[in-house]
């Protein structure tokens, strides 16, 4: 265990001892302390996307914000193990026991489960890690903000731009669960609306599949120009690895990972991942601002990983939330999650990681999205130099329009 990691564990332990997930009923939290609960996957497939580094970046944001504004900030963390029941349980307990804001929550099913608890308890919930666009759609809530990405934005950027670049016939390999279906459906829509065709798709059992060769061969037999992977995490990695093995990219077929993070590229290695197309809203090497931010925080992260879209999103979300709290006062903020969220929507978002953004009425954060291609080993100058920018979609075009989201909060 690295020193930082050990410290994080100790901090978490101290948090647990003082209140945290301890079942003892100590509901009276200190009136002058804002508590932030980072809930994510600390042990499963998405650990390297948010995980311990996501917690550390929330802590960095809290420290940088400073404790000299009349209130203290405390960060605690927990592992939801990608199980919605565990997530809902922790959320309920945290909110009951003095946590003011829950952050991160990757995995769509867990993200949605925490969403309903936050609303029931009238607390603040900033989702960074989950992909489902339903959080600002049919299931939107006045207590919830969705920070850095969603399925709509991924589909629009990857699906749309790919077709324009000539990849006009698609075959999908889809994880057989609601999230995979949503990714496939959204991307197909953009492929078709840009004049492309969908040649077919195959749905494989999730999470019990590790050999994708059969599906890759079916995809290839369809003669589609692009194979879209509507899945996530280890499944995507296995797909890409096996696609390289079967020489699919060498024969000119393009691979599009509909949900992929730079941490996955790091795990795959450029040898297998080169040429892959993916969308993110943050990349450490985007400009001077992101480089400065990343170089500053990198030494404090586990395995000296570069911040990615989700961990940087934790930083950004924490900072903006604390600004709103400082602006309206601790007591008022603790009294109502909705009011705090309204304040967050009124204040402009600005930080080192993402630059400027706005928080829309339905809880959607609006920032630009970027389409990247993974570099070849020859192009890369070293670790974490993995992506080259293909296309930028500006903030006002990247996201699903307010009118199409079916969010009950929006009266049209």
């Amino acid at each position: 265990m690295s020193r930082i990691q050990r410290r994080a564990v100790l901090a978490a332990a101290a948090g647990a001892a003082t209140f945290g997930a301890a079942p003892a009923r100590r509901a009276r939290a200190q009136a002058n302390t804002i508590k932030i609960g980072v809930m994510n996957d600390q042990s499963g497939p998405y650990r390297d996307i948010g995980g311990p580094n996501g917690v550390i970046l929330a802590q960095i944001a809290a420290q940088e914000f400073g404790n000299n504004r009349g209130f203290n900030v405390e960060v605690v963390s927990a592992d939801h193990q990608n199980r919605p029941d565990v997530g809902a349980n922790i959320a309920r307990q945290w909110y009951d026991q003095g946590v003011d804001m829950i952050l991160d929550v990757p995995t769509s099913s867990v993200g949605l489960a925490v969403n309903s608890v936050a609303r029931e308890k009238n607390k603040v919930y900033i989702n960074v890690g989950a992909a489902t666009a339903d959080l600002t759609g049919p299931q939107c809530s006045p207590n919830t903000a969705h920070w850095v990405y969603d399925t709509y934005m991924l589909a629009k950027s990857t699906g749309g731009a790919m077709v324009r670049a000539g990849g006009d016939s698609w075959f999908f390999i889809t994880a057989d669960y609601a999230f995979g279906h949503a990714l496939e459906r959204d991307t197909s829509t953009f492929v078709r609306s840009n004049g492309g065709r969908v040649m077919g798709s195959v749905r494989y059992p999730f999470p019990a599949t590790s050999d994708f060769s059969a599906f890759l061969v079916q995809a290839q037999a369809s003669r589609a120009k692009v194979i879209g992977f509507a899945n996530a995490g280890a499944d995507t990695i296995n797909c890409i690895k096996q696609a390289a093995e079967f020489g699919i990219t060498r024969r000119g077929t393009k691979l599009a990972a509909l949900l992929m993070f730079i941490a996955d590229v790091h795990a795959l290695g450029l040898e297998s991942a080169q040429g892959l197309v993916m969308t993110e809203s943050f990349y450490w090497d985007l400009d001077d601002r992101t480089r400065a931010f990343s170089r500053r925080v990198q030494p404090r992260l586990n395995n000296r990983a570069m911040p990615n879209m989700v961990t940087a999103g934790n930083y950004s979300g924490t900072l903006h939330y604390l600004k709103a709290v400082a602006d309206m006062g601790v007591a008022a903020s603790k009294a109502s999650g909705i009011e705090t969220m309204n304040r967050m929507k009124r204040l402009p978002v600005e930080d080192e990681a993402f630059g400027r953004g706005t928080l829309r009425e339905d809880g959607r954060m609006l920032i630009p999205s970027y389409l990247f291609e993974v570099k070849t080993p020859a192009e890369s100058r070293g670790p974490w130099d993995y992506l080259k920018l293909l296309q930028t979609t500006p903030a006002d075009e990247a996201w699903r329009p307010l009118s199409e989201g079916n969010c009950p909060l929006i009266r049209s």
């Binding site: 948090g15 997930a21 042990s43 592992d79 029941d85 349980n89 099913s109 059992p205 999730f206």
Partner: protein
Amino acid sequence: MAAPGGFSGTDFRNEEAYFLGFTQAQVIAFVLLIALLAIGPFFLYPVFLMKLLCFALFACAFNLLIGYVGLLSFGHAAYFGMGGYITGYTAKMWGLPPELSILLGGAVGAALGLVIGWIAIRRQGIYFAMITLAFAQMVYFFCVQARFTGGEDGIQSIPRGHFLGIVDLSRDMNMYWLTAGVFVVGFLLIHRIVHSPFGMVLKSIRENEPRATSLGYRTDDYKLMAFVLSAGLAGVAGGLKSLVFGIATLTDVFWTMSGEVVLMSLVGGLGTIFGPFVGAAVIITMQNYLAEFGAWVTVIQGVIFVLCVLAFRRGLVGEIGNWLRVRL
């Protein structure tokens, strides 16, 4: 001495029933348990206690099978999870009152148990464990595919409703009393079953099935009956859990859940009346306190498994009982 090949607890002489089939020591333990249940929510977080009780009931149901019939089911998650889905669905979509939706959850669990049990009880030992696992995987597949379960999102925002139309269960304390009540009823029911003539036959099957057969008992019928009862109670526990948390998910049908209930019973003591409760309490408390430590929870659970198998095969309650020379 444990019977060869069996999972029995320690046998003691001096077994006269003291009260309602309980021995004196069991009465004391039971009073203690009721006292804990009564004062618990004033010191501990009620939702945590409710979770604990749901799992305790689940473990008791499982223990009925392994502890008293000697059948290791590795697929009990199927009944637990299915019960949860049925209760959640009927409460949310049909607007059924909680008491009815829980009963329905139990009924569906029992029906599923009837079908799977009918096939599984023809096999013994490891084959029994494997075939129950296989069927549980099929139930899991069904739950992933079926529309009404909501796939990996599960059934969310399940209303707790009003018990008997009057008690508002959305208040945690009310829900707690209902959960505690259901647990105690389930607990006493299992105790009653175990100490009935029916239970005696079950135990004789556990000890020596050929002999039970030779005495003229249709052992398959008895085993199936126990299987159905166990599955039904697991379904009730699952239904209760989905009301407590307002969510029913695939986790509860997955095979790791079957492993977890084995762990709880093992830690508490297989074939002891109070063991499953203690085991569930230990495991759930541990999961709660250690949630921050991520993957270490898995490691610690593994270590407990190993320690229990190597050193404490009687489980906590079994060891205490052995030490006090009483049956608990």
